[in-house]
């Protein structure tokens, strides 16, 4: 029910006319934190990202291809993991605020004792929400959901990334 309410809210926002929507093209870099859960195992860590923002005509939508890496540590274990994403975000702009869906391909590495002991990969999807000032500074969050090793739903991972960044307009 809560998710449905959230979706309705996002749809309502998407239907609004542009309110001084003023996104601009440019490269961006972000740094932030990530909190994830996979198969009941929680992990937290840092995240780095880079993207390019291409605005559609009218400025109410932008397409943002991006790359992102993380380094995480399990909360109750010694193993580390890294989740690397290559994807694209479809951002709807309402003034300086953006939100929208994202699609990505991920590769998740399990690291133990400095060695990669396992890798899982496949498509994923999620949503993104953020604010970008005209000067280029940005703050945002994204949900990385439905990450699975293709159709394997047993070991599915969900993550939240919160980040600060800057865009060169």
């Amino acid at each position: 029910m809560r998710m449905l309410t959230g979706i309705r809210f996002l749809l309502l926002l998407a239907a609004l006319p542009a309110l001084r929507a003023d996104p601009a093209n440019g490269f961006g870099l972000t740094v932030g934190t990530v909190s994830a859960s996979q198969g009941g195992v929680a992990s937290t860590g840092g995240s780095l990202g880079a993207d390019a923002q291409f605005c559609l005509k009218g400025g109410t939508w932008s397409i943002n291809p991006y790359l992102m890496i993380s380094m995480e540590k399990e909360k109750d274990g010694s193993e580390k993991r890294s989740d690397n994403l290559g994807g694209v975000q479809f951002r709807r702009w309402v003034g300086p605020v953006y939100f929208g869906p994202q699609l990505f391909f991920h590769d998740r590495l399990l690291l133990s004792g400095g060695n990669v002991t396992n890798s899982q990969y496949g498509p994923g999807a999620g949503v993104v929400l953020g604010y970008e000032a005209r000067g280029g500074f940005t703050v945002g969050a994204q949900l990385d959901m439905l990450e699975s090793q293709f159709l394997n739903t047993v070991d599915r991972r969900n993550a939240v990334r919160v980040y600060l960044g800057y865009r060169w307009h």
Binding site: N25, A50, Q53, F105, N115, V116
Partner: protein, 243 residues
């Protein structure tokens, strides 16, 4: 399980990518539109020299001795690509530049050499004294989406695409089949073997220079093995000569 994916880069390599990507804004001033002969976002025919760091894995299955997965633990790589003149299915104006869905024909030629057996690690192979070396060439159509330019008056574009083709490969060497300590057997194509070729790419063009992630997958028809494939992925930098 060894991987075959679009973006499976371990941390040090991914860090190199981020550093390269971070440097792209500074490359913008040298990528002005007048430097390139292409029309808008569509490209003329070109030859691209691509150099990068990739990881390649050759997989084979023997009916008696089981599977072999032999990798190179990552290596510097050089290959040559040809792209025909691009055509558009769809062109739509954007805030700056345009959105293009297009297609063209590509040809590629490259070499591979693997010498580490994947045993307990998904990425890092173990030296068991085996080695396999080969060459392949392929041709086929590609479909792509391109956005840009990123900044007015520049030639900075982002593209994503997939390609499918046919080609031939020739290889020889040996490989360890089955769980370690397995059975080392000679592996030889005995001439050029036909293959199917699949590729996916994600790239940023800055004028004639490109930063490229791509994966390549060869499905080889080899009567001596139940199945054999070669897959590679990695980060490369290319220079495009248009004509």
């Amino acid at each position: 399980m060894p991987h075959s994916c679009f973006f499976p880069i371990p941390q040090p390599k991914a860090m190199r990518l981020l550093v390269l990507t971070a440097l792209l804004p500074f490359a913008a001033p040298v990528a002005r539109a007048e430097d390139a002969p292409d029309k808008g976002g569509l490209r003329d025919a070109s030859v691209t020299v691509v150099a990068g760091y990739i990881q390649g894995t050759f997989k084979a299955r023997n009916a008696t001795f089981g599977e072999s997965q032999q990798t190179d633990n990552g290596h510097a790589n050089l290959n040559l690509d040809y792209d025909s003149h691009e055509k558009a299915f769809v062109r739509r104006p954007m805030g700056v530049g345009e959105f293009i869905m297009g297609w063209n024909f590509n040809a590629t030629i490259s070499q591979f050499q693997v010498n580490k057996q994947l045993e307990t690690s998904a990425f890092t192979g173990t030296d068991e004294g085996t080695s396999l070396k080969g060459t392949y060439a392929a041709v086929g159509p590609s479909a792509f989406i391109r956005l840009g330019p990123l900044y007015p008056g520049t030639k900075i574009f982002w593209s994503f695409g997939v390609g499918l083709g046919v080609g031939g490969t020739e290889y020889s060497g040996n490989a360890m089949f089955g769980a370690a300590p397995g059975t080392i057997l000679p592996v030889k194509s005995g001439g050029v073997k036909p293959m199917l070729y699949e590729t996916a790419f994600w790239k940023l063009d800055v004028g004639h220079v490109m930063v490229l992630f791509n994966s390549k997958y060869l499905l080889i028809r080899d009567a001596n093995l139940q199945s054999s494939t070669y897959e590679s992925y990695g980060l490369s930098v290319g220079y495009r000569f248009t004509f």
